[in-house]
Symmetry: C2
């Protein structure tokens, strides 16, 4: 797995959990105090997100931090 695939996989995890909860990107951004453009970039795997951002997202989704990072080894 290369780096780009990693980001895409993390972003897909986030998107999946967000949609399961019936939230829009705007909803999630508001709960995270983050920009919706940033959420979009993260979900699309276009950015190398930080632990801080991941943490805020995990809190907003009500999941464990590690859940965002479950990718095939």
């Amino acid at each position: 797995m290369n780096e780009q695939q990693l980001f895409i996989r993390i972003g897909s995890n986030i998107r999946e959990m967000r949609e399961e909860r019936g939230m829009t990107q705007q909803d999630l951004a508001a709960r995270c105090n983050m920009e919706k453009s940033n959420i979009s970039r993260i979900e699309a795997g276009r950015t190398n997100l930080t632990a801080r951002s991941a943490w805020k997202i995990s809190q907003a989704l009500g999941v464990k931090l590690g859940a965002l990072f479950e990718v095939d080894f």
Copy 2:
């Protein structure tokens, strides 16, 4: 849990797994192609590490990416 505690917890996870494997920070840095000073900052929780760095570290330690982020919710 605040942000600083989060970083410290992640750093402690990394340190613990590194030491379990009998590696020095220098060893880990070399396997990650990262600076040893950076490893030191990350383990001490003084930096908001990125997914890329976490990924390289997890590969070098031979653990799943999510394992680095196992923190109390």
